[in-house]
């Protein structure tokens, strides 16, 4: 079926979910299943003097209690992007001598159900000796600060230099100095984490069902941690109610459940509640950039120096360095700035650990850079759109190697795109000029309206690889196995579209399967906007091989040369002979099923192929957001009027799905810009671990969002797909921040969340408003 890639097909996964037949982790039940509850530290920093679980153990409703003392020797949780210079501040499965954040697991209790398990957890008595806690990263860096691990709280310092920034600064006519701060917030999926572990004595296998994005690496971590061989661990993934990066690593609970299941010989389930989720699942974003920017009178940026500090929390997690790395390495975004120096300090504090979530590092980079552009524009009396146009890398200068290594592999090379065109289209889409023309009049009427641009470039389509397998069944069904691991992105439809496109079938005839490490042994998972680009390419490549196999078999069956054959609508026939003989793909599969001799020229049974696509390097999607806001001069409340996006994710598989991803990302960005923050007080106590006080955007916070797709293909995979899951979250905060700054000019915006109180204070400082009374 031609045209199936690019078609806005309704999703295959929806009817089942709409009828209530979803099966998320908490829904799963098994015979004899037990419930685990984790005992967590109420202190941000304390010695553990003793753990007395005797009252819990003596209670007859308790089936098991594990404390650190009960565990076998276990390696700490891995941090795979650690450099040589990264201090090994890794987390243990259960705290033994010390706790370092509120919510850190200290023990686990198992009972027949969650209600009782929570009662029993209260019986575990931990004798803590509280230590001074540190919440602020700069304080944590000071001499004399309370040390979380050993010697220092600075876990690592990354240094980057391109060109000759010092020379640029010496000769620059203007220098801007500013600190831009992004707050700590979190992915916050609607479904919290959870897992069920089960031990099968017949096969001596642990099966872990987990709400995860990365089943194969969870399997690997369990094997390593518990010293089990590959065939003894199986990881399954049910329906996942959102993940966004919070579920991209192996957490202590997953390992504990495996131990418990093995010990008890019964399935053990743990479902995280929302309080736990907010204090103990990973956070992100907390980072400030102290920048110096050298620029010319026409707004051309000559050089940037950046001292960046990331408040990364108490421990390294799987990919903790990504946030500091991307925060500085992607700071210059789409702009032609080749004299650049950055230092990124990664600092431990007594907050929950950080790990990448949607937009990681790019959000802070874009916010910082885009505020820099607008601030320069304001200083010079220029329009920020013009200043951007002067600074973007020209399309003919791509691909552009940035001269920076990549955190996980290779080098940063902007592969494809046209930033100027994207900006032009975004200005047109948002009717930017019209808004500017009417803005003065609005201000005269006392309406503080503003328009802001958020341009960004982001790493997408990350390797190292992804697996896709395809086989044909005699019924004509096409079965796809993918290493992708969906949590709402519509992969069952989009990957079916790719397979259907190659094999000339209806996507409804393609069954996409995932989430079982026994079926997909080389999968990697879904994160970093990689599934369409990498997972999709693996499916595409496998489909191409399957197509070739099918044609070869068909050529024998039809006694025609391969070059005379065509595959359309699931049937292989002879070109120019529509009423002539043909075979269906099902016929082809049946012809090579075991129990008969193989056709001439065919040397194996079955029609199937597996591809493990290793991209050369990752792609770089990009986009431009434009936000229009109105600020209430009396309260500082920001109302978003409109939001427009021009997004280039390369080739679009399903525009409806991609639009949904962008809009969802924009909502993330709205939350990050205006509402969300995981708040800790000065003593590192979480202040808002519930949904009343952690403000997720609601329907009334999100305006209409128009999305226009630019689709310049990347040369890095055959379909030219770049990836689109995160861009919305990256461009939106920058655009909104600029719009607010524009509305309240000369009031300044240098930090998110842009709360009403901050806006009001900025307006008052700028003399725009006078407080009442």
């Amino acid at each position: 079926m031609t045209g199936v890639v690019g078609a806005p097909l309704k999703r295959k996964e929806d009817p089942r979910l709409l009828r209530g037949d979803g099966r998320y982790l908490a829904d799963l039940k098994a015979h004899g299943m037990l419930a685990a509850v984790v005992v967590r530290s109420p202190h941000p920093h304390a010695w553990i003097r003793s753990v007395d679980a005797s009252a819990a153990r003596e209670d007859q409703r308790t089936l098991a209690v594990l404390t650190a003392a009960d565990l076998p020797e276990l390696p700490p949780l891995p941090c795979i992007d650690a450099e040589e210079t990264t201090r090994p501040f890794n987390q243990r499965v259960l705290a033994s001598d010390k706790v370092r954040y509120v919510g850190e697991p200290v023990a686990v209790v198992v009972a027949a159900d969650r209600y009782v398990a929570e009662d029993l957890a209260e019986l575990v008595v931990v004798d803590y000796e509280p230590l001074p806690a540190v919440a602020d990263a700069e304080r944590a860096m000071e001499p004399g600060a309370t040390i979380l691990h050993e010697e220092t709280n600075v876990c690592d310092t990354l240094e980057y230099r391109i060109g000759d920034p010092d020379a640029a600064f010496e000769s620059a006519p203007h220098v801007l100095t500013e600190r831009f701060t992004t707050q700590r917030y979190a992915g916050m999926p609607m479904e919290t984490r959870g897992a069920i572990a089960d031990w099968d004595p017949r096969t001596e296998t642990i099966t872990l069902t987990s709400s995860t994005q990365v089943p194969n690496s969870v399997k690997r971590d369990i094997c390593e941690s518990l010293k089990l061989r590959e065939s003894r661990v199986r990881v399954l993934v049910p329906d996942v109610g959102g993940a966004f990066g919070v579920k991209i690593q192996t957490y202590p609970e997953e390992i504990l459940l495996c131990l418990l299941a093995r010990r008890l010989g019964r399935p053990v389930k743990w479902v995280e509640d929302r309080w736990e989720h907010i204090v103990a699942s990973t956070h992100g974003r907390e980072q400030f950039h102290d920048v110096e920017v050298a620029y010319d009178p026409d707004g051309r940026v000559r050089a940037i120096r950046d001292r960046c500090v990331t408040n990364t929390g108490a421990y390294l997690q799987r990919l903790t360095l990504v946030e500091p790395f991307i925060g500085v390495s992607m700071l210059t975004g789409p702009y032609d700035i080749t004299d650049f120096q950055a230092t990124a300090h990664v600092v431990m504090t007594n907050k929950a650990p950080m790990n990448p979530f949607r937009g990681v590092g790019h959000v802070q980079a874009a916010f910082t850079m885009e505020r820099i552009i607008d601030t320069i524009a304001r200083e010079l009396g220029l329009d920020p759109a013009d200043v951007r146009m002067r600074n973007v890398i020209a399309a003919e200068d791509l691909p552009r190697a940035r001269g920076l290594g990549n955190v996980l592999a290779g080098e940063i090379v902007y592969d494809s795109g046209d930033y100027a065109e994207c900006l032009r289209r975004a200005l047109a889409l948002s009717r930017y000029d019209e808004f500017r023309a009417g803005q003065e009049e609005q201000r005269r009427r006392g309406r503080l309206v503003g328009i802001g641009i958020g341009a960004f470039v982001e790493e997408t389509g990350l390797g190292p690889y992804e697996m896709g397998s395809i086989r044909l069944e005699p019924s004509g069904q096409i079965v796809v196995h993918t290493g992708a691991c969906t949590s709402g992105q519509g992969h069952l439809t989009t990957l079916a579209q790719i397979a259907a496109d190659t094999l000339g079938v209806d996507p409804d005839d393609v069954d996409v399967r995932y989430g079982d490490t026994d079926l997909v042994r080389w999968g990697v998972g879904t994160y970093a906007s990689r599934t369409a680009a990498i997972g999709g390419t693996a499916v595409r490549n496998a489909a191409v091989v399957v197509r070739e196999q099918a044609l070869r078999i068909a050529s024998t069956m039809l006694e025609a040369a391969g070059s005379d054959l065509q595959l359309t609508s699931g049937r292989i026939g002879i070109v120019g002979s529509p009423a002539g003989p043909s075979v269906s793909l099902g016929d082809v599969a049946a012809a090579v099923a075991p129990g008969q001799s193989l056709p001439e020229g065919v040397d194996s049974y079955g029609v199937e192929a597996t591809d493990v696509f290793h991209p050369e390097t990752n792609t770089f999607a990009y986009g431009v957001h434009v936000s229009k806001v109105e600020v209430d001069p009396e309260t500082g409340i920001v109302t978003l009027l409109e939001h427009h996006v021009v997004n280039d994710s390369g080739t679009v598989i399903n525009p409806l799905v991609l639009e949904g991803q962008v809009q969802g990302g924009v909502a993330f960005g709205i939350g990050g810009a205006l509402l969300e923050e995981v708040v800790y007080d000065d003593d590192a106590q979480p202040r808002n671990p519930n949904f009343m006080d952690y403000l997720l955007p609601g329907d009334d916070n999100v305006p209409d969002i128009t999305v226009e797709h630019m689709a310049i293909p990347t040369p890095l995979n055959p379909d030219g797909i770049k990836g689109g899951g995160e861009g919305g979250a990256v461009g939106a905060p920058a655009a909104i921040a600029n719009a607010v700054a524009d509305a309240i000019a000369p009031g300044r915006v240098t930090a998110t969340p842009i709360t009403p109180a901050r806006v009001f204070a900025a307006m008052a400082d700028a003399g725009l408003v006078k407080p009442e009374g």
Partner: protein
């Protein structure tokens, strides 16, 4: 987040409920549960016994008598909000209820529950205070009427005895043609407001005839802006909103707020008061 163990009773008679509350066990009243059940789920409270009022007859009536509208304690907020009687006789209650959380919460939450919960950021307690409502309360000592001005003594604290139950809230009937408004400043619709104001006004010959004004979210209890009210009487309608703002700014002792920059809460409270008066005037006939 599962509640701790507790006992539960749903008596059919009020005196039985009072008896249970007055008894040995640490007992709490369960009305709509929209405030209490989350507290229990978060294990912030460990009562021995919940006394559910839902089977007690006569607590869910809305009736008029003696110049007052009596709304039974177990009247669901949604029911009061959509009642023609309440809209006509006590429009400020309707305006305030529209701002309470979301419809799905209001379908279970009760008027009495809100009044008794004494949330300083709650809309209904502010309405009670503004309108000089009174709570009809029953306890071991019998029935009594508690004026709203005497009801709220601190954050989530009332002057009621442990075993006293709010049976109904009596609101004075609004003057014909009175306009009412509830204005709050919140970062999301339905959130606990940063703060807000409730106002009810009636006018005659271009002048304010009567004004009621109270603020919520500015202190540990609702605050009646009595000085502003007095000043507003006889003020020309055109000037009323500004007068309200000035007086509120002067009279209300805004507490220092560690969570907000100095003066911000005062700013939005004053703005809310001004806007509430303005909107109430617009709604007045």
């Amino acid at each position: 987040m599962k509640p701790p163990p507790f006992d539960y009773a749903a008596p059919e008679r009020l005196d039985e409920a009072i008896g249970l509350l007055a008894g040995e066990l640490d007992a709490k009243v369960l009305a709509g549960g929209q405030s209490l059940v989350p507290l229990l789920s978060m294990r912030l409270a460990y009562p021995d016994l919940l006394v559910d009022l839902r089977r007690i007859a006569g607590l869910d009536m809305i009736s008029e008598s003696d110049g007052r509208l009596a709304i039974g304690a177990m009247v669901r907020q949604l029911h009061a909000e959509t009642s023609d009687t309440v809209a006509t006789r006590c429009p400020l209650v309707v305006e305030a209820l529209r701002q309470v959380a979301h419809p799905q919460i209001r379908a279970r939450g009760t008027v009495g529950g809100s009044i008794a919960h004494a949330d300083p950021a709650g809309e209904l307690p502010a309405v009670a205070v503004a309108l000089d409502a009174r709570a009809r309360v029953r306890g071991p000592g019998g029935e009594r009427l508690v004026a709203a001005a005497d009801l709220y003594t601190g954050t989530f604290t009332t002057s009621l005895g442990d075993a006293e139950i709010v049976c109904a809230v009596e609101f004075p009937l609004a003057d014909d043609g009175a306009g009412a408004a509830c204005v709050e400043v919140a970062r999301r619709q339905g959130d606990y407001a940063l703060c807000g104001a409730v106002a009810q006004v009636s006018t005659a010959d271009g002048l304010v005839a009567d004004a009621r004004l109270a603020l919520f979210g500015v202190a540990d209890r609702p605050v009646r802006a009595a000085v502003a009210e007095a000043e507003l009487r006889e003020t020309p309608v055109r000037a009323a909103a500004a007068v309200a703002a000035t007086k509120v700014a002067d009279e209300i002792p805004f507490r220092d707020d560690p969570q907000l920059p100095a003066g911000y809460r005062r700013q939005v409270a004053v703005v809310s008061a001004r806007r509430a008066i303005a909107q109430a005037l617009e709604a007045a006939a």
